[in-house]
């Protein structure tokens, strides 16, 4: 045989082998590792390498795609995964808006979708289509409840809100309006800003003029820093609250002295050393160590959301395998049912208890109150 023929024979045999490899369970992952929400998407994409590789004796293979933060590209990626790759489930996308735009496609094809996004709108209110969606982040109201309770107990009567002009900030404004009303707290100023704004003087002056007891800043990632530094610069002395969007080490680095004493509620991933031992703590510690080994930096909580999606699937696959072979509609159906029956499953973000109505499944074990002390995250006591 000439070398050329050997090579072509190899190619031929490898293409014959390919269908065998397809018998694995195939999971699609769509993240936004480029574009405006890359901050969220990059740790999520990096986490794919750490996802479980087998479940119920079957190998799991992952197909990771990038949507560039563009909802149209998300739809394309989903269609490709569903129609061409025939995946059994999809993890992603990173953005709230992106997730909203693909729910119908996941539902039509009957593919379970595990969305690591912030907005509760992807699973609430539950509809026939959203039955196929599971959310691996704490709902905003769960986090907000903790903050409002804290405000109430420390005697705060009025608050000011600064939020980003995107679904994240808007949903928070909505959630806070309801919760503060119940708690008897008044929102005296509500301002918006864009992530890329180079100055926040106007908004923060407006807040200062209303002189609230506390200010809540609802912005994802490092955009949550500037409102706070501006407020401090202008001499605001009240308490400042942040959402779980600020739960990043970059927040401490960028904020420096100005973020000292900030209060926020987030998953316990930030203060693992201080929380009591629990299965969640073990999983999160292992995840962080593995991630550090691979990429040389600690992962943002956004990455943990993707890992949880993988763990949920790993947990659900064995019982789904009884109903059908991977790649079949029966398998996907059974997978969805099994995901919905997830009970007391610990993962990085907390403990999951899914029901037909609650596809996020967190309780108060999914969040702790955290504050900044001497430039470090510590548990609020």
């Amino acid at each position: 045989m000439t070398p050329k023929r050997v090579i072509s024979a190899l190619f031929l045999s490898s293409s014959l082998l390919a269908p065998l490899a397809n018998a694995d369970i195939k999971i699609g992952v769509v993240t936004s590792s480029t574009g405006p929400i890359a901050l969220v998407g990059i740790p999520q994409k990096n986490t794919v390498a750490l996802l479980p590789t087998s479940a119920g004796g079957e190998k799991i293979s992952y197909i990771s795609l990038d949507d560039g933060s563009d909802p149209t590209a998300t739809v394309k990626a989903f269609k490709k995964l569903i129609d061409e790759e025939h995946v059994d489930a999809i993890i992603g996308p990173s953005g709230s808006g992106n997730a909203m735009s693909v729910i119908q496609f996941a539902a039509e094809s009957g593919t379970p979708m595990l969305a690591p996004v912030g907005t509760a709108a992807v699973v609430l209110p539950m509809t026939e289509q959203k039955k196929w969606v599971f959310k691996t982040t704490q709902n905003d109201d769960l986090i907000a409840e903790a903050l409002v309770e804290q405000m109430k107990s420390t005697g705060i009567k009025t608050i000011g809100l600064i939020g980003t002009a995107d679904p994240y900030g808007e949903n928070w404004a909505k959630v806070m309006k309801d919760l503060t009303q119940k708690a008897g707290i008044q929102i005296v100023a509500s301002e918006q800003f864009q992530r890329q704004d180079t100055s926040m003087t106007g908004q923060s002056l407006k807040i200062l003029m209303a002189s609230p007891d506390a200010v809540l800043i609802a912005a994802p990632g490092s955009s949550s820093v500037m409102p706070q530094t501006t407020l401090k610069d202008q001499g605001y002395s009240g308490k400042i609250y942040q959402t779980h969007g600020a739960a990043l080490d970059a927040f401490l680095r960028l904020g420096g002295k100005a973020v000292e004493g900030t209060i926020l509620a987030a998953s316990s991933m930030l203060v693992l050393d201080e929380v009591p031992n629990s299965p969640s703590k073990e999983i999160a510690t292992k995840y962080i160590t593995d991630y550090k080994k691979l990429y040389g930096e600690t992962p943002a909580t956004f990455g943990g959301n993707v890992l949880d999606a993988g763990l949920l699937l790993q947990n659900a696959i064995p019982s789904a395998l009884k109903s059908g072979k991977p790649g079949s509609a029966e398998f996907r159906n059974a997978l969805r049912d099994a995901l919905e029956k997830t009970k007391e499953m610990p993962a990085t973000q907390g403990v999951y208890n899914m029901t037909a109505e609650d596809h996020s499944g967190f309780d108060e074990r999914g969040r702790v109150l955290i504050t900044v002390k001497n430039g470090k995250w510590v548990l609020l006591k």
Binding site: I42, T198, S199, Q203, L205, S223
Partner: protein, 345 residues
């Protein structure tokens, strides 16, 4: 709204306006000399800020690899032309010099303890790293089609902008960055605290504008660039190389861009993709000046900064809309008042 708030907003508007004015001037300069609308100018701003931030964290900015890559391509093209035509010893020396420069920069960045050296050195290193990118980019992307219609140049410019944003994400990551202020002191003016950084921004901007003005009025090189802007063909006949003019303006634009980035980095958080919106506001200023008049462009840019600051106070969610809607009445007024300018000369 009382006096104190008005001064605070005014101070904010003036700071931003000064930066927009600098950017407006470089957009104008590049446009008049080369007919290129320099959309990637904003990327030089973010590159400057993020490189500074990387240095202050003690990391060698990855931008050095972009510089090395572009220099290598540039030198390869030069060599190819040398071999194709004839070997010129002077040109060869230049190639060696360029390569040497890139390697010296990389050597410096990797061996100095960047976080500890004085801030002036950090600024100097940042500028040394970014300014050469301007002329190299002109050489690689625009020089081969210097005679193309303005529309083609605009499209290439947009492509370069998109590519540079992508490269920015790759080199600096998605996190925002901010740097230490030049000095920590503040000044009290009546009831208002003035941060020293705002003064730095305003003073450096004025200094740069005045220097540019003097350079264009008094020096031979400045006059050569002005001549090219007034009449490209005429200048060429007088022995002014259009390639030189293009490279010089790009170097100047890269310098002004990265200097602006370094100036505002202590005041605000910048992301890899923040540049576009900043340069777009400078562009609004340049449009107000009709893409011809330097003083009007500068005044227009300061006005943009002011309007931005006050609209941020009154209607924070409509800020951008207000700023960019500004451009429409000016365009209408301009198109009614000015005679039609040939698209291509």
């Amino acid at each position: 709204m009382n006096f104190q708030i008005a001064t605070l907003l005014g101070q904010d508007g003036l700071t931003n306006g000064a930066i927009y004015a600098l950017l407006a001037l470089s957009i104008l300069l590049v446009f008049t000399v080369t007919r290129i609308l320099l959309i990637p100018l904003g990327e030089f701003v973010t590159f400057g800020a993020l490189t500074m931030a990387a240095m202050q964290m003690g990391k060698a900015p990855k931008l050095e690899w972009l510089l090395l890559g572009l220099v290598l391509i540039d030198c390869a093209l030069d060599l190819y032309q040398q071999i194709k035509h004839h070997i010129d010893r002077n040109k060869m020396k230049k190639i060696a010099l360029k390569l040497g420069y890139a390697f010296v920069m990389i050597g410096l960045l990797n061996n100095l303890s960047l976080a500890e050296i004085p801030m002036a050195c950090q600024v100097l290193l940042t500028l040394c790293l970014i300014v050469p990118l301007g002329p190299i980019m002109y050489r690689l992307f625009f020089q081969p089609l210097a005679d193309a219609p303005a529309l083609v140049l605009l499209i290439v410019s947009i492509a370069l902008h998109v590519a540079m944003v992508g490269v920015g994400l790759l080199l600096f990551g998605p996190e925002g960055a901010r740097t230490q202020p030049f000095s920590d002191t503040g000044f009290r003016l009546g009831t208002v605290m003035l941060k020293s950084q705002t003064l730095w921004v305003i003073l450096v901007s004025i200094f740069l504008i005045v220097t540019l003005f003097i350079a264009f009025e008094r020096t031979l090189y400045g006059k050569a660039l002005r001549a090219t802007a007034v009449n490209r063909m005429g200048a060429r006949l007088q022995g002014i190389s259009p390639v030189f003019a293009g490279k010089a303006t790009f170097a100047l634009a890269a310098f002004i861009g990265s200097a602006s980035g370094i100036l505002i980095a202590p005041i605000t958080t910048l992301y890899y993709d923040s540049g576009f919106i900043i340069s777009l506001k400078g562009f609004v200023g340049a449009i107000i000046g009709g893409l011809v008049s330097y003083p009007i462009a500068a005044i227009g840019a300061v006005a943009v900064g002011m309007i931005e600051a006050f609209s941020m106070f009154w209607a924070s969610n409509y800020k951008e809309i207000i700023v960019f809607t500004l451009i429409i009445p000016f365009l209408i007024w301009r198109s009614m008042n000015s005679h039609h300018v040939e698209d291509d000369e």
